[in-house]
Each structure stands twice: as structure tokens, then as C-alpha cells.
Symmetry: C2
DNA sequence: TCCATAACGGAACGTTCCGTTTCGTTATTA
DNA sequence: TAATAACGAAACGGAACGTTCCGTTATGGA
């Protein structure tokens, strides 16, 4: 039952002296499938290679390491999730968190994200890429929710980083402990605190 | 330059038909040293075994896997950090966070903790142990800060979980992204939000 | 039109680590 | 005194790493 499935019975030979986008797509799909079925424990370049019917050199031709591949798998799936500010920061955060957790639970993305954070702990270069490129891109929307609240005068500009960190960390805690189901009840109260107007 | 140092030139032969606590101590010290020098990337049972001058079977006789060893390394160092509530939850959290981050930066414990979280992402059994045993024990003190605030009538009992999750996640975010230095400025504002009295 | 070029899948490389087993040695405990 | 069990060391089979070859395929510049 653990036999490597051939999702693409089609063979992709060389298409000449240039990279084959079909190979890239097959590798991404295979990586996604492996993560969905076996999580980070089963995620190996060998496994992805077998699953995709692609050679390992082809994988390393497109991505320089495992973290790089994981980031692209995640980014490709995350693309659909947007967040546009209304006039209520707390409600914006509640809505976005619900959507995010549904996305994490309903797709392999939760596992991909956990794998990504784990991978970055053993590779300083990957951690730097995560911190300086991946996260800023992925957090652009939710940061916009806070800056919109600043523009409305609801929260001070100086507190955006602290509130954003609270928001990120809250999500990370639940996804990393695999408690997204049990933790949903905490979302509204937590988001109200993050969105609270300052002062006594 | 990568030669395995022998911190203990003393040989520990068998002391008879019972476990040798000196071996356990040497292994814990070696694990701590490996993490301090090479982080999670260099942390392997082989490396710890070489460093400790201990056989691998001896390691597995005391701990059932790497996560188990990591948890004990962390717990042994963390033992010194206590948190007792005053009358001000926000200040209690600021003080405790400062102490925790100093502990994470000034000892190998930050790296140990990051390794622990990473390890748990590829081992469901380790994640369960982290969630149901390690974390509750480690968070007992800080949970006490919140329940003391509840007893004073400062925050509602129903919000303890949400606020505690915010607190944990905030710390995890900064340690996992290796930003403890740069993030210190966010501590006071974040803690005030976590400790805020509810309602408008 | 021809041919250097480069990506393709596949196989094998040497290394590292896993967790386990085997070994002779050591000293306790029954 | 004899059974017991942990000790360090070495080696096991298996998996994954990242790299290097291989023969094949088709492009794109000369």
C-alpha cells in the first residue's frame, strides 16, 4: 500500500536545451502529495523524486535545497488567500484567521508550513530566507489590516510590530502544536486583545 | 578543527548490573555542548555519543529518542527560572519575558528549544509528548501569573487560554525566527495588550 | 542544415545518521 | 560463586543526503 504512485504515467523526456516547466509542475505536485500523505517525516527529496518520476538532479536544478522547494509549494497554494480591511480590525483579524486555519486544515498547507518552520531550524540560510523574503511577502495582506487601522486612528503606528508579532505567534503556536481544531474557540478573544484600542 | 573533544578523559566502564548516572550526566552535558556549538543541524545521536564517550545503546537505554533527550536537556536548564505573580499582570509578563529571553540567549537553551520544536514536527509521538507533558510543566509558572490576575478580578477566567496562547506564540515567533535581539522593543507593548482589562 | 548545448530520467556514487545487535568487560546482587 | 545487566565499542542494514555520471532528446545559433 506504500508503493509509489505514478500520478503522471506520461514520461517527460528532454524537450531540448532548456528547462521543462512540466517537470517543475510535476515536482511541485509530488511534493504537495507527499506532504499531504506523510507530513514532514516522509518528506525527502528521494520520495518527491520517485513520486514525480523526476530525477533528483532535476529537482536541484530548479530549487537549491529542501527549504526552497517547501517555500514554493506553500506560496503556490497560499496565493488564493487575500485579506482586505474593513472598518473593524478585530473582525478583520477574526475573519482572516478563520480563513487561514481552514486553509491550513483543508489543504496540505498546514503540514507544509510546519515542515518549512522545522526545516529552517537546521539551516541558517533557509531561516534568513524565511525571515527576509518569505514572511514579509506572506504577511503583506495582514500587515495591511493593521496599517489600515492605524490610518483610521484606531491603533498607534508604533504598536504595529508588537501586534503583528502577537498575531503571527498565535497562529504559529496552534499550527505547530497541531491544535488548530481545539484552538478555534480562542480566536475571537485573542483577536479582540490584539485589536484593542490602547490606553487605560 | 572538527575533532571530537573529550570533555571527560575519564573512562566510565560498567559499574555492575545497574545504570551509571555518570553516563547519563555525561550524555546530557555532551548534548548541551553539541547544541551550543552546532545547533540543531549538528545535533545527532552519533555526535552526542562521540562527544560523551558513550555508546549509542547507552543513550537509547536512558532516552527513547532524540526528542526525549532534547526535552530533558531543556528541562534541566530551565529549572532555575521561576515566576511569581505580583499585583500587576503586565509587569509580571514583561519581567518574565525578559528573563526568558536572556535565558534563551545566554545559554544553549534557545537553540535547544528550537531543536525541540523542529524535532516534534517530524515525530507525532514527540509532538504529543510536547503538548501534553512538556509544555504544561514548563508553562505552569506563567499560567499562574494569569490565574492570579483572574483571582484579583483583573481579567476574566474564560480568557486565560486565549491570553496564554498569545503569550506563548509571541515568544515562539521571536525564538524560531532567531530575532530575540531585535524583538525586545516589542515586549512591553505586546505584554500590555495581553494583560489588558477586557471590554471597551 | 548541422551541431554544440543543455535539460531530461535514471542509476550509482560516497557520506552521514538512524536505531539495533553483537561483543568482551565490569561489578553488583541474589 | 553465579546470574545478571549496564558499560564502551564496533558493526549492522536501511534511508536520505547532495553530486556525478550516463545515454537520450530536442533546441537554437552558426
Amino acid at each position: 500500500m506504500k508503493a509509489a504512485k505514478a500520478a503522471t504515467p506520461v514520461r517527460r523526456a528532454s524537450i531540448g536545451a532548456r528547462r521543462n516547466p512540466a517537470s517543475q509542475a510535476a515536482i511541485l505536485a509530488a511534493a504537495r502529495a507527499v506532504l499531504a500523505e506523510d507530513g514532514y517525516a516522509g518528506f525527502s527529496i528521494d520520495a518527491v523524486s520517485r513520486r514525480a518520476g523526476a530525477g533528483k538532479p532535476t529537482i536541484y536544478r530548479w530549487w537549491k535545497n529542501r527549504a526552497d522547494l517547501l517555500m514554493e509549494v506553500y506560496a503556490a497554494e497560499k496565493a488564493g488567500i487575500r485579506a482586505v480591511p474593513s472598518a473593524d480590525l478585530a473582525q478583520d483579524l477574526i475573519d482572516h484567521t478563520s480563513a487561514l486555519w481552514s486553509f491550513w486544515c483543508g489543504t496540505p498547507s498546514g503540514r507544509t508550513f510546519r515542515a518549512l518552520l522545522a526545516e529552517a531550524q537546521s539551516d541558517p540560510e533557509a531561516l534568513a530566507a524565511l525571515r527576509e523574503k518569505f514572511l514579509p511577502e506572506r504577511l503583506q495582506d495582514v500587515r495591511g489590516l493593521f496599517t489600515a487601522a492605524v490610518a483610521r486612528g484606531d491603533i498607534p503606528a508604533a504598536e504595529v510590530e508588537a501586534r503583528l508579532s502577537l498575531y503571527i505567534g498565535f497562529n504559529w503556536f496552534y499550527v505547530l502544536t497541531d491544535q488548530l481544531d481545539a484552538g478555534q474557540a480562542s480566536i475571537p478573544a485573542a483577536m479582540r486583545l490584539i485589536a484593542a484600542r490602547s490606553g487605560p
